[in-house]
């Protein structure tokens, strides 16, 4: 059992909690964007929906899917970080999450902005799982682009 200790960095308590109890996973009615992404090699799936207010800012979000603890918890954690953001804000968050996963330096303020998602930073030590962690975020990036196009 000792050998499993190394896993704690990957599976933080909060990560498993989001996996087991995903937040905002109910489908939205008439979302502004509705995107499905998957990882062709492992089959993990994420469906992300956003609604925006008149100001173009996210007013409702849903993330649902099937897959491992990392991909699904990352999706759930995402739902806590998008409310009130416009397309630019979403892009900024995606960029920040990518930097975190790549192991680029992230300031304390930025880490604070990521809230519970900082618990996922242990993924960096398991490079093959970074793709899992980023799956939902690639959906968000696509969503942000669609919002921008819609706004034009």
């Amino acid at each position: 059992m000792q050998s499993l200790e190394g896993l704690d960095e990957l599976y933080e308590q909060i990560v498993l909690d989001h996996y087991r109890n995903p937040r905002h996973s109910d489908l939205l009615t008439s979302p502004a964007v509705d995107i499905e992404v998957n990882n062709p090699f492992c089959g993990d799936e994420i469906r992300l929906q956003l609604k925006t207010g008149d100001d173009g800012r996210v007013s409702a979000v849903s993330v649902a899917g099937r897959g491992c603890a990392i991909s699904q918890s990352s999706g759930s954690l995402l739902t806590e970080l998008v409310h009130g953001k416009d397309a630019a804000g979403l892009h900024g968050t995606v960029t920040l999450v990518r930097r975190l996963m790549k192991g680029d330096p992230v300031s304390e303020a930025e880490m604070d902005a990521l809230g519970d998602l900082s618990a996922l930073s242990g993924v960096r030590k398991f490079p093959v799982r970074i793709k899992c962690a980023l799956l939902a975020w690639s959906a968000l990036e696509e969503a942000a682009e669609k919002l921008e196009q819609g706004a034009k």
Binding site: M1, L4, G6, L16, C42, F126
Partner: protein, 426 residues
């Protein structure tokens, strides 16, 4: 089945059906590898097998001693390379009991072999309203080429359903295969369920309606004696990398008279007999289907892999796999919350066990096992329709080969208990 004696066989306490793994393991350098502080336990053999020293050395020998392009050279190196290369083809022909080495085409892998048939044979022989019958448990490589052929030709793909016990429903098969069936394509051994399919019987049904029979032998040729004449199949596809051989090379066996009538698929050097600015004539079998410089080194290494397996005796290999499969199935019964896929009867299956857990995702199980140096595969196993049919998106799979032991299966079971406990406690 009687098992020829080999220097690698021995009686064992567990009943005399296991290979002498201590001796075999010494031939596989990678098995000394440490992973996360533990000696590697490699249980991902259905994805690709490990390679014995003898096979690796055959590649080194070729490159260090007689590397040259084949078929076209009068110089010594080229003559030697051509000899050993063509001898490897003959070894493969003998291994599957093909009547002639002309029936043995080198491809990149099983997938390419099946694509070759879909294009070269399929485009010429399948028409509108025809159908191709395959199974609901197929690997993507034996599904998507037929779907695309059907789309090109206005034909239909039909799937023989899989029963609860992980076996093909042969009664339905008999109905699906009809006068409009041009080809039946089925895997011999399932890479997910472990099921051994009655492909010889399917061949009879196919031939009765004038259809041809293609066997996907990717999982059977490495593990059991496969005799194309006894099976009565028209095509057999398999990959060297799953049977002690190198990556990058596979085999298409095809009945000679059928392949004589097929047009080449890829064009270029070596497959022609004459080229003018106006057109070209084709070379004879097998070269007609081999365009450009072949994968010489890996063909030679495939010959070496066949030598190695011949030395073990494929009957012995199969007995070993079945024994390990049965042992694993038995031990899995201890595990609560784990569900094993495929036939319950160990006699109906080969040496692999796919499973899933009530709550822990296979990917996370695999990650935990990796911490303990145990390599298993997780995911859709290139059989999405089958896996989804079980109400899941992914499964975990432990697959065994000639060097695996009961002790390694014990370690797997303990590891799964620990992993499930880890996730349960958190």
């Amino acid at each position: 089945m009687t098992h020829a004696r080999s220097k690698y066989s021995r009686g064992t306490p567990s009943g005399g059906t296991l290979l002498d793994t201590a001796r075999i393991r010494a031939d596989f350098p990678i098995l000394n590898r440490q992973v996360n502080g533990r000696t590697l336990i490699y249980l991902d053999n259905a994805a690709t097998s490990q390679k014995p020293r003898h096979v690796i050395q055959s590649i080194v020998d070729y490159y260090e001693r007689y590397n040259a392009n084949v078929h076209r050279g009068v110089h010594t190196l080229s003559v030697e390379a051509t000899d050993v290369y063509e001898e490897a083809r003959r070894k493969v022909a003998r291994f599957i009991n093909a009547p002639s080495e002309k029936s043995v085409i080198w491809t990149r892998n099983t997938s390419e072999a099946i694509n070759l048939i879909a294009y070269s044979w399929g485009d010429a022989n399948v028409g509108e309203g025809d159908n191709i019958v395959t199974t609901a448990m197929e690997h993507h490589s034996d599904i998507v080429p037929w779907q695309q052929l059907a789309r090109r030709k206005g034909a239909q793909v039909r799937y023989i359903p899989v029963g609860r016990q992980g076996a093909l429903d042969m009664a339905v098969a008999r109905n699906l295969i009809d006068r409009r069936t041009k080809l039946v394509a089925a895997m011999h051994a399932s890479n997910v369920l472990g099921t051994i399919n009655p492909v010889g019987e399917l061949a009879l049904i196919a031939h009765a309606v004038g259809a041809l029979m293609l066997v996907d032998g990717a999982q059977s040729v490495p593990s059991m004696p496969v005799d194309v004449q006894a099976l009565g199949c028209d095509f057999l596809a398999f990959s060297a990398h799953k049977m002690c051989g190198p990556t990058g090379i596979g085999v298409l066996y095809g009945r000679e008279d059928v392949m004589e009538r097929m047009q080449p698929w890829m064009f270029g050097g070596d497959m022609i007999s004459e080229v003018t600015y106006e057109g070209a004539k084709w070379n004879d079998l097998p070269y007609k289907f081999e365009a450009g410089t072949p994968n010489i080194a890996d063909a030679i290494a495939t010959g070496a892999a066949v030598d190695y397996l011949d030395e073990l005796g494929m009957g012995n290999v199969w007995a070993h796999e079945q024994a390990l499969g049965a042992y694993a199935l038995e031990r899995f019964k201890e595990l609560e919350e784990f569900h094993v896929m495929g036939p319950r009867d160990p006699g109906l299956r080969g040496g692999l066990v796919s499973f899933f857990h009530d709550t822990v995702h296979p990917h996370d199980l695999g990650q935990a096992l990796d911490r303990m140096g145990i390599a298993i595969r997780t995911g859709h196993h290139c059989a999405m329709p089958l896996v989804r049919g079980h109400g899941i998106a992914a499964a975990a799979r432990a697959s065994f080969y000639i060097y695996n032991t009961e002790a390694e299966i014990d370690a797997l079971i303990d590891g799964l208990k620990d992993a499930a406990g880890y996730f349960a406690r958190k």
